[in-house]
Symmetry: C2
Subunit: 158 residues, 2 copies
């Protein structure tokens, strides 16, 4: 299942590069579903392994870090020249930091900062608003999601 998540994320990236943005969006949402089931199944069967956890983080940076960032870059952020480029990379960097921090902390029933899965899904969802929202709002959306990931507010897990 983790490999499904990772593969879907990888395909989402390449498909976004080819310009088929709606298909890329669909693949990211499928990756989110695979990620959700993956965690549930692993916990249910009690087969959470250290390798699985590491592989899961690698999948997350691809499916919810790089893929949604590329989708938004291709969809709208490329209009903004260097700031568009910079904040797309900034989002990926914040996501990587969020995952690295998560990997070294013990699970305690709370999220610290917004999980990259949530940020990636919100970013992907925001893609659907491109025809309706002012273009500049996307710079704000990606900056806010980036900062929410690296901030240290606590959120109870559901």
């Amino acid at each position: 299942m983790t490999l499904t998540n990772l593969s879907l994320g990888g395909f989402a990236i390449l498909i976004a590069v080819r310009g088929q943005l709606s298909l890329s969006l669909l693949l990211i949402f499928l990756a989110a579903l695979a990620d959700r089931f993956d965690g549930l199944i692993a916990r249910k069967l009690n087969i959470e392994s250290e390798l699985g956890k590491q592989l899961d983080s690698m999948s997350d940076i691809i499916s919810f870090g790089v893929a949604p960032a590329l989708l938004l870059y291709q969809g709208i952020l490329n209009l903004f020249g260097f700031p568009g480029l910079f904040f797309t990379v900034f989002y990926i960097g914040c996501g990587a930091y969020r995952l690295a921090r998560f990997n070294i902390t013990e699970s305690n029933g709370y999220f610290t900062g917004m999980p990259i899965t949530a940020a990636g899904c919100l970013l992907t969802l925001s893609f659907l608003g491109i025809p309706y929202l002012p273009p500049h709002s996307y710079l704000f959306i990606i900056i806010i999601l980036s900062i929410l990931m690296i901030s240290s507010f606590k959120l109870k897990k559901i």
Copy 2:
């Protein structure tokens, strides 16, 4: 330094998406240099932290997994339809597995399987041969590098 590596990798991805492939290649090599110095400095100053190690893996999957894969996909593999797409994602998946396995094993002076940094640099180097090598050889190159990463031969560290 780790953030330099990660940022260079992120920019390499976006620049490859924009079609500036030579610039993307340069950024990947700069990321490899940053990665090399990062490790040297951390060991010299004895500031190798668990967070640093995790962040380093995240940077590696971006700079030497996704970025070179995209570069080759944009440069030549897109000519091959689904197989081109599939083996590009396969390479990223093998790289993620290599890094996840590395993160859970103790360092013992040996590499197990080809490091993703080496595979990424070789893949990036091979890009320079596109005008001279037969196109199909690139499918072989990416498959062989992928398998070398997940194989379990031992190699003494230098």
